[in-house]
């Protein structure tokens, strides 16, 4: 077999990238099945952005002629001898070029399954991804696997490129079929596809200019799509987290050093370290070279390296996470993790690994394996071990507590790498904290909750489903209530116990004391979450339709509800929602009659890790409801139709 030569190494007289004001640097990983044309697209992009000197092109054409091969764009990227011999890309490489408003670093991640660890290394650095699919071959297992890994690695911006359209005669039907399949697959993983683009990289269609051969396509070109990606910014709006890298005492100062992962930190703040729970106040922020006292920094923001001194001597060590006393990470003893596994040796119940979360490291034992997921089909099956290059969900029991957040609450302190045999061999997202060290709060000390007389299993047998909270968030007019009502009807028809909690409806009674200030909105969300959680425990599938624009407030909701929580981002572009305007609110907001309206003069913070994204500008209401049902079925909440509890036991 002669593998397509898809190699890449950086400098073909690398076009230097001037540090101009206002040009964001965006890292984009290009992934997909090995033969779907990545190198051809990269070669073409380089050529069309002026990154290749004409002499280089001529000399490569001459070499091709001499070797008796037709010229391929991928040859441009082919410069490492070892790779030429191997015939496939063996590692991540990076090339730079510019679009209209961005400086791009394109990270080429190998498509070959053998080199998954290199794909992961490349994709983990990326702000955004291009997922490439061969129009003639369609969505392949490797395509889905890469999509799944983008989800696990936290890459949120994805554009899909359907390449080799020339091979299917630029037919719209073939393209739409692939578009539907891939957007629904990625949506089920909580990834929003920004665009799906039909192209022929070899012939140049759709790369930098629209082509007459796809008159039915009105979306952006590849270059325009790249130009629309943003650099992933450090999360300023999440609560403070600063994992401690070290405590230094090089001179008379005792400096706690780390990096602000999320939130911000000011001189004078009360802080607490987890898992030890030790508290102190920030006395100073230390930097070198030392500024004049008047210019000494008073505040540090997310993404910045930090060095602070404290007002008292407490023993703090590497691995602890600094936060505010009001909002601290858990001291976790057992965590549920959705992970990928790269080692030759399978991960089994009882396997010993080192879990690394931010700067902490702890011995961990695999105490349960819930699922092994075949990312090729997104189907879960029960298994006793997770093999090389597989993904799955496991429980890890930790030798001592470490600070951790669920990924949905804080992505930076909600992910772990696993070391096995001295090497990093896996990684994944903290789905939930299974067991934590609890500090009792004074207000609940004398309260004894009364347990229900009816068990969860009895309820599930009667209703045909377990309790759950489906939290639909999105702009006004995105379709939250519409989807919720369809789901409510469907669940009811099948004998289930659905409850619709509508934010507006509750505001007429229970929440009538609340307005629309940030604090009132947060309290509104908290009450919704408490009610939803209560109803969940009574076996209800609670359908909450609430704009809930604040990521922090939603993170709190997730904390309150805990298990069986499904955040669904009902997503449609603002102009689409505004055109729908079912309640006439956008018109009022535009007219200035309504202040602080989400999307107009107040921000909507899209979920960082929704269980599901439904793009209602692409998907119909019934299909949207199907997707929610699928997610509930996959999580084991909803039994397949017609299956009784007794069947399930057999």
């Amino acid at each position: 077999m002669s593998a397509t030569v898809t190699t890449l190494a950086t400098p073909l007289a690398t076009p230097a990238t001037p540090l101009e004001e206002g040009r964001p640097l965006v890292r984009i990983v290009i992934v997909g099945h090995v033969d779907h044309g990545k190198s051809t697209l990269i070669g073409r992009l380089l050529h069309e952005t002026g990154g290749i000197p004409p002499e280089k092109l001529e000399s490569l054409k001459a070499i091709s002629a001499r070797r008796g091969m037709p010229f391929e764009w991928s040859f441009l990227l082919d410069s490492l001898q070892a790779e030429r011999d191997q015939g496939i890309t063996i590692d991540t490489s990076q090339i730079r070029f510019r679009t209209a408003s961005r400086d791009i670093i394109l990270i080429d991640a190998p498509g070959h399954a053998e080199f998954l660890r290199n794909m992961i290394t490349g994709a983990a650095q990326a702000d955004a991804a291009l997922l490439l699919i061969d129009a003639a071959e369609g969505v392949r297992d490797q395509t889905r696997r890469h999509g799944y890994l983008l989800h696990l690695l936290g890459v949120k911006q994805v554009a899909v490129v359907v390449n080799k359209m020339d091979r299917i005669g630029f037919a719209e039907a073939g393209f739409r079929a692939i578009e539907n399949e891939i957007t629904s697959y990625l949506g089920d993983l909580g990834l929003r596809v920004s665009t799906v683009i039909p192209i022929s990289a070899r012939e140049g269609d759709g790369v930098s200019a629209n082509t007459a051969r796809t008159p039915w396509y009105t979306g952006p070109t590849v270059l325009a799509a790249l130009d629309g990606f943003d650099a992933a910014r450090a999360a300023q709006d999440l609560p403070l987290r600063m994992p401690v890298q070290a405590v230094y005492k090089f001179d008379d100062r005792r400096i706690v050093a780390g990096r602000i992962e999320t939130g911000s930190l000011s001189v004078g703040d009360d802080v607490v370290f987890q898992p030890s729970g030790k508290a102190a106040q920030v006395r100073s922020i230390e930097v070198w070279p030392a500024p004049a006292p008047a210019d000494a920094p008073r505040v540090l923001h997310a993404g910045q390296p930090a060095g602070i001194t404290l007002d008292r001597e407490i023993f703090v060590e590497r691995g602890e996470v600094l936060s505010t006393p009001a909002n601290r990470p858990h001291a976790a003893r057992q965590i549920r993790v959705r992970l990928f596994w790269l080692a030759d040796e399978p991960l089994e119940i009882g396997s010993q690994v080192i879990a690394r979360l931010a700067t902490s490291e702890v011995r961990a034992t695999v105490s349960a394996i819930h699922d092994v997921i075949d990312p090729g089909h997104l189907s879960a099956f029960e298994a006793r071990s997770i093999g090389r290059n597989q993904v799955g969900e496991i429980e890890l029991t930790l030798a001592r507590p470490i600070a951790a957040d669920p990924y949905g609450v804080n992505p930076r302190t909600g992910r772990v790498a696993l070391e096995f045999g001295g090497r990093i061999a896996g990684g994944g997202l903290v789905i939930s904290i299974v067991e934590r060290e609890l500090a009792a709060t004074p207000s609940t000390r004398n309260v004894t909750p009364v347990a229900s007389a009816v068990s969860a299993t009895e309820r599930a047998n009667r209703y045909g489903h377990g309790g759950a909270v489906v939290w639909l968030t999105g702009l006004s007019g995105s379709g939250k209530s519409t989807i919720a009502k369809v789901l409510e009807r469907r669940l009811f028809e099948r004998g289930g116990l659905p409850t619709l909690l509508d934010g507006d409806t509750l505001r007429t009674g229970l929440n009538a004391d609340l307005g629309f200030s940030d604090a009132d909105r947060a309290e509104n969300n908290r009450r919704l979450a408490e009610i939803a959680n209560f109803l969940k425990h009574q076996g209800n599938i609670v359908l909450v339709a609430a704009v809930s624009p604040s990521a922090t407030a939603r993170a709190r909701v997730r904390e309150i509800v805990g298990d069986a929580f499904f955040e669904v981002h009902v997503s449609a572009p603002l102009d689409v929602c505004e055109a729908r305007d079912p309640k006439g609110l956008y018109a009022k907001a535009r007219a200035g009659e309504l202040k602080g309206f989400t999307g107009i003069d107040a921000p909507y913070e899209a979920p960082a890790a929704a269980e599901l994204v439904i793009e209602t500008d692409r998907v119909g209401i019934e299909a949207a409801a199907d997707r929610v049902e699928q997610v509930l079925a996959h999580a084991g909440i909803l039994r397949p139709r017609g299956e009784s509890a007794d069947d399930a036991v057999i």
Binding site: T92, R96, T121, A124, F250, Q304, P305, E419
Partner: protein, 268 residues
């Protein structure tokens, strides 16, 4: 919109994080000082990471063939910056693999000198100032890059590296290369040098229509045509040039794979 300053801040933050991780994980760490623009930036970053201190030895593996300006620079700033400087010589040319092309063979002395120094001090981690954009094989590097017992680099067998979790467990006798400025470009280095006021060896600035873009041994390093006599002029030149940075380094051009052969054997 991000400003150029913010971009430098982000590069700096990442490098500081890497340096602190290296210091936390390695027992016997050293920083390789080649005296060039990149390793000077690296020392600056170390002083930022450790609040004015460089808490590990700084190693200069000396071929004995550097420019006088480079030795002057080393001796002056080692004192001014309070560095724990170790200077170790390289073995003579005659001991190098005779099948290598001449300049490559000459450069191989540094690899051997490095091995001797590693043996002598027992360092388990070496901080090196290589960058992905310099040269094709360097683009494939990890931030923490394990080396075999012979100092060799197995590009095919590199472990995964993600979310700033670096591989730092090593077999006895092996060592780790740490690359805190892997993600910087030549332009970033100059822009940062300018912003921070980091001292520079004057050979980088044009005299009589020529300047050095990259500094190595006198006999195998050549100046490029340039009129850039200040950092802003260098920045301007780099924004338009199509000449690779290492074009003045003879060993890169002797054969298609000479630099790769050097690197697999343990060259920087």
């Amino acid at each position: 919109m991000p400003t150029a300053d913010q971009r430098l801040d982000e590069l700096e933050a990442q490098s500081i994080y890497i340096l602190r991780e290296a210091f936390a994980r390695m027992k016997r760490l050293a920083l390789l000082w080649s005296l060039g623009k990149d390793s000077n930036v690296m020392i600056w970053l170390a002083r930022k990471a450790f609040f004015g201190h460089v808490p590990f030895p700084v190693l200069h593996v000396d071929t004995g063939k550097k420019f006088k300006e480079m030795y002057d620079f080393r001796d002056h700033y080692a004192g001014e910056w309070g560095l724990d400087l170790r200077v170790d010589p390289c073995p003579p040319l005659e001991q190098m693999d005779p099948t290598l092309p001449p300049a490559t063979r000459s450069a191989a002395r540094k690899t051997e000198g490095l091995k001797l120094a590693l043996e002598k001090y027992g360092f388990d981690g070496l901080i090196a100032g290589i960058r992905r954009d310099e040269e094709a094989t360097r683009a494939k590097e990890r931030v923490f890059s394990p080396r075999g017992l012979e100092g060799d680099w197995n590009v095919r067998e590199q472990p995964a590296e993600f979310w700033d979790h670096f591989n730092a467990t090593l077999p006895q006798g092996a060592h780790l290369r740490v690359h805190p400025i892997l993600h910087w470009t030549e332009l970033d280095i100059w822009a940062y040098t300018q912003r921070e006021g980091i001292p520079v060896i004057p050979l980088y600035f044009a005299r009589d229509g020529k300047r050095y873009r990259s500094l190595g041994d006198q006999d195998i390093t050549f100046p490029v045509k340039s009129d850039a006599a200040t950092i802003p002029e260098i920045l301007e030149e780099l924004a338009t040039t199509k000449v690779p940075e290492r074009s003045g380094r003879a060993m890169d051009h002797e054969s298609e794979d000479s630099f790769e052969r050097l690197r697999v054997a343990g060259y920087l």
